[in-house]
């Protein structure tokens, strides 16, 4: 049986970064509280011994305040078979949480990650764990930041005080990791750690402060870096709010601009010029003209559209979106944006930190819904999930919008986004009224601004690319193949006729526009892409785009909702989104006709 090591610590101290270093895996790392929302496990090899490593969400104490923290707390408390010490009344709010973790044996070692740049923040939980007599080892991470801030931590004194080994590390560069491995091995070897010789420190704030006094020193006067100046600029309403508007615009323009460039100059020539023609030639040589050949290279031929759509329409924006998102995530700007907007977000029932899952939703809805676990109430989770399903287009769908609309009319495209925000605000206001929940009283720690590191950004982008190929492009090719079969066998036309009253009568779109409604159930972008080849008026484009936006979020999202909440809630979302898509679409078609 492999030994198990648990990585624990306060939020944003670099647990996942250390996990990635030790296991060679790649879990998400970002500069804000609540990046990890579920546990991740991997293995590492030390001295020919295979050891399991578990990364959990960060938590400040053993009293969980959100679903994500619960995952971490249950790992320790469940495993050690002891009750959580309740030093204060539990502020746990996730009564409905049903995180099930297989707790057959306690971890053989807890590697406790402390942030040297925010030393006090993690000490209380560390003392709680010591009280539980869990086998511990401390990794004093982010020691580069501590040095930069003029902090000095007496590692020997700390180790003495706690009576456990302490290893300084810098996870982003890998410094100290070898030393950490050695210490892990040593700690695992000397199993029955005996701490009896020394009086056990109790988990009290007095003890936390005593430790800080004795081992933590600060250079006076403190080195005032540029970091503080930037922080003030970005975090104060003035000029923070106007700057936020500028930053958002730059981000939006950057994503669209870089994406269009990649498409025009790299991916389109590559696929249209080099990859697709030989495939088409090959197939037309091998297969006689007819249904089968058309399935491969006809109108919806999956070797034509099935390659063009995922790789020349969507991929460019996947690359540009995640490049920009990674930069923003690693800089620490997100939590600052969150507090700037907190007051406004409160009105739609969310704390400002709701901006983080919503932003992730513009990439893909699944991580967005998962990330909502770090929000502190069930109400917030529900609101974020509904908003993401309803009106946040994933990056594939945004790529489709750009392809459909940008060339015809940039104004329509911008209107689609403005309209989506209008609907989100309205939906938020309504949900805030009607979903029950306690009053928001958020408190968040704002992490230091960090300069994003190129190696980190590139690595994350590469992972995204791989994930997009397997989880985005391949299913899309499959869906196009389904479309090709439906189309060539005449089933699509029959379906189109069946729902034609809805499409032509109610939405006032051509009969062929039934295709996106059928395919859109499979994938979000397919509720838009088939419209490209139709000859639509501007109003029809807008109607089609809006219907596509609100229409069923893809199957994978519904599955995630069913898993994270209840299957019934997924059904509710399905009905809500589809219903709203048709109602709003029909109204737009009619109202628009009055003005155009």
């Amino acid at each position: 049986m492999n030994k198990t090591i648990l990585l624990m610590g306060a939020p944003n101290v670099g647990k996942s970064a250390i996990f990635n270093r030790l296991t060679g895996l790649n879990v998400r790392v970002a500069n804000y509280t609540g990046t990890t929302v579920d546990f991740a496990s991997g293995t590492m090899k030390l001295d020919s011994e295979i050891i399991n490593l578990i990364d959990v969400p960060g938590t400040y104490s053993l009293c969980a305040t959100c679903e994500a923290e619960r995952v971490a707390v249950e790992m320790v408390c469940g495993k050690t078979g002891k009750d959580c010490p309740r030093t204060a009344p539990p502020v746990c709010c996730c009564d409905s949480g049903n995180v099930e973790v297989d707790l057959d044996k306690p971890p053989d070692l807890i590697v406790y990650v402390l942030d040297a740049g925010n030393f006090e923040g993690g000490l209380y939980l560390l003392l709680q764990l010591l009280e539980l007599e869990a086998p511990l080892l401390v990794a004093l991470n982010r020691s580069d930041l501590a040095r930069e801030k003029g902090y000095f931590i007496d590692i020997e004194a700390l180790s003495e005080q706690l009576n456990i080994p302490v290893v300084p590390t810098i996870a982003v560069s890998g410094d100290g990791l070898d030393h950490l491995r050695e210490k892990i091995l040593a700690s695992l070897g000397s199993n029955e750690q005996k701490r009896t010789e020394k009086q056990q420190l109790k988990a009290t704030w007095d003890n936390v402060e005593k430790i800080v006094d004795q081992v933590f020193f600060k250079r006076e006067p403190p080195v005032n870096s540029n970091r503080d100046k930037w922080d003030q600029l970005l975090t104060r309403p003035w000029p923070g709010l106007p700057l936020a508007a500028v930053i958002m615009l730059v981000i939006f323009a950057g994503i669209v601009g870089i994406g269009m460039g990649l498409r025009q100059f790299l991916l389109l020539p590559l696929f249209r010029g080099l990859i697709i023609p030989p495939l088409v030639m090959l197939v037309s040589e091998l297969l006689p003209p007819g249904i089968i050949q058309n399935i491969f290279i006809g109108e919806y031929g999956f070797l034509v559209k099935g390659l063009e759509w995922p790789f020349t329409l969507v991929l460019p924006y996947v690359l540009s979106f995640y490049t920009v998102l990674n930069l923003v995530e690693d800089s620490g700007y997100m939590p600052r944006l969150a507090i700037l907007l907190d007051g406004l977000f409160n009105r739609i029932g969310l704390a400002g930190s709701g901006i983080i899952p919503l932003t992730l939703g513009y990439g893909c809805g699944i991580p967005a819904i998962m990330a909502s676990r770090s929000l502190s109430s069930r109400k917030e989770r529900l609101i974020v999930t509904i908003l993401v399903c309803l009106a946040v287009p994933c990056i594939s769908q945004t790529g489709a919008f750009i392809a459909l609309l940008a060339a015809r009319s940039a104004a329509v495209m911008i209107s689609v986004f403005l309209f989506s925000w209008l609907v989100m605000i309205t939906a938020g206001l309504i949900m805030n009224r009607f979903i029950k929940g306690e009053q928001l009283e958020s408190m968040v720690e704002i992490p230091d601004l960090l300069l994003p590191r190129l190696d980190g950004i590139m690595k994350k982008l590469y992972l995204r690319l791989k994930l997009y190929i397997t989880d985005g492009a391949l299913p899309m090719i499959g869906a196009v193949a389904v479309a090709a079969v439906l189309y060539e066998t005449g089933i699509m036309a029959a379906l189109g006729r069946a729902i034609s009253p809805l499409v032509t009568g109610w939405l006032r779109l051509p009969e062929e526009a039934a295709a996106p409604l059928v395919l859109g159930i499979l994938r979000r972008e397919l509720s838009v892409l088939p419209l490209i080849d139709l000859d639509l008026t501007t109003l029809q484009l807008f109607t089609g785009a809006i219907v596509g936006l609100f229409y069923v979020p893809c199957i994978a999202i519904l599955a995630t909702v069913a898993r994270e909440f209840k299957p019934l809630f997924a059904l509710f979302i399905l009905l809500l989104t589809t219903g709203l898509a048709f109602i709003v679409g029909g109204v737009i078609a009619r109202l628009g006709a009055l003005f155009m």
Binding site: C93, N118, Y124, W205, D231, L341, N346, G352, L440
Partner: protein, 87 residues
């Protein structure tokens, strides 16, 4: 979030004590009384701690404070429940 708020026993002799919400930007204060909430404690907002007000966000947004070198955004309703002695 269910907060167990300790009753604020107002001490009339010390009339310059105010709630954290009333501390103006750039000023410091020492925490006299704080709701019993483990999250607040772990964020460094405990009795006897010095807080520095970094600013108030618009639209009824949070108060941003510093304790030591940690920066924390607190909802107004919470800030109101924290009593401090300006210094």
């Amino acid at each position: 979030m269910a907060l167990k708020v300790e009753d604020l026993k107002l001490n009339v002799e010390r009339d310059n004590r105010v709630s954290l919400l009333e501390l103006s930007t750039g000023n410091n204060g020492i925490v006299l009384d704080v709701p019993d909430n483990i999250m607040l404690s772990t964020l460094g907002i405990r009795k006897g701690k010095m807080l520095h007000c970094r600013g108030h966000q618009l639209f009824g947004g949070p108060v941003v404070i510093k304790t030591g070198d940690r920066q924390i955004a607190l909802h107004r309703r919470l800030a109101e429940k924290i009593t401090i002695q300006p210094v």
